[in-house]
Amino acid sequence: MGKTSSLSPGNLAAGAVASFAPLGARRLLLLGGVGLILAGMIFGDIFAVFVLHQNAARVGANLAAGVHAALVGDSTAVLTSFQNVGGFLENRGTKVDTHVHMIDFGYLALMLAILQPWIALSEISKKRVAWVFLFGSGLLPVCVFLIHYVGLAYSPLQAIGWASILADLGGLLVLLAMLAYLLGLLRRATAKEERGAQDALLTDRGSEGRWMLAGGVLLALFGFLHGAYYASVDLYRHEAMDSSILSEMAAGAAASDTADVERSFREYGQLQGDKAVQIAAHAHLIEFGLLAIMLAFFQPYVALREAWKRRWAGVLLLGSALLPVCVLLELRYGLVAGGLADLGGLLVIISLIAMCIGILRYTGELDAPSGAAR
């Protein structure tokens, strides 16, 4: 495949090979982390296309039914409609939580993979902690996804079901693993004899890594600026509008004023849409920024030609900027902007798959001479 990474097995130091040993902590966390991010993103895309809009339509329809029931004085129908709204919102909430936690745990795994040389624990301990972390990181989102379906079946508690209990256990395992790695870091930081953590990943300054680092920091900065703007200009206004529109809706229903109720209902839908796109743009800018920064460090492990590494870095940054910008434009340009936002997400996923393939090629090249692959 021509010229590949500067950290190819041919010119790797023995220490660098050891730091990326088969089933070693760094390799487990890197591959597990990329896998979690990919699974979370693909799940998010499937959820957005097949569940999110349909679910939002059902929430809207039931909310409308509840408000109209209040308008005609049918309090039993109000109760039923709002119970349905609660069910649909729980369904939506658990799917969003699954998507977010899977990706965030993937980010944490990538960070812990980078930090491995600074963690003063034995190799076997690092590996065990990595397994605990990955097990918890998989358990929490899977169980959060199941909360809506399992409910309170066979639960020993009145309000919390088995899926929630196991999800909390997953969170606890991640917490314990993080604590163990923090202790390892503290041991190194407080060691009398400072041993320099030699790591080729931190010294590599390839152009694709530099692009991703600079692009990632810029994306995160824009995300913070957008968040600060939203918090100072829109957040409190949106919160006040949320409650005042609902109050107007209820007051209109109590006074049997159909026109007032219909107007309030339309305003409420617009407000929810506006809030959703602002928050989604803010969160995605920062998360994609973080992803680009972290992947910048792993570029030496991507065994692809330099030109292709640069192309995939460009595709990742393009998709990372396209998605949040188009999400912001969704209210004004509708489906066109929505489609472009989905395309941005797809570009990120494709570049991530390409980098993952490059890392797998690298592990193959690394393991083949030592026979570890067999």
Binding site: G66, V67, A70, G73, S75, V78, F82, Y107, L108, M111, I114, L115, W118, A159, S164, A167, D168, G171, L172, L175, M178, L179, Y181, L182, L185, L186, A189, E194, A197, L202, R210, L213, A214, V217, A220, L221, F224, L225, G227, A228, A231, S232, E239, D242, S243, L246, S247, A250, A251, A253, A254, A255, S256, A283, I286, E287, L290, I293, M294, F297
Partner: protein, 163 residues
Amino acid sequence: MSGARRLLILGGIALALVGMSYGLWYAVFNEHQELEGLGKSLTAGFSAAAERNAPAAAAALKQYKEQKYAYDRHVDVHSHWIGLAMLLIVLGIAFDRLAFSDGMKYLLAIGLFLGAFTFPLGVLLQTYNHGAVPRAVAIAGSALVIASLGGITLGFARGRESS
């Protein structure tokens, strides 16, 4: 490991642990109750409207407003502490590439760490006190994060020019 790098990496992991512990505590002891309360007050508001009882509807929706205010902030605190912690750690790893003096790097690291801790703390305090102080803490924290991040971006840009 330089002082700035140590502060960002150890501080970042400590902050992630704080955010996760808070999230775990919140999920186990608070979230279900808050969500149930939100649903109940919204239903009560529109049930009262159906019974043509406007004062009861207004009271229930006022309760909904307060519960929603607290719920949104509790979730924001959890996600912002962990998100900022991750940013601290990754920037800490790359911190030696900044083209600034050690003193300036340490200053930026302190600003970023303090901002990352106080911004969500200010948001959390808003659930106990709706006054100006918690809001000022949150604004000061976010301003520290943005200013430090701007400085760090500049440092990376200068690093590339000089390399």
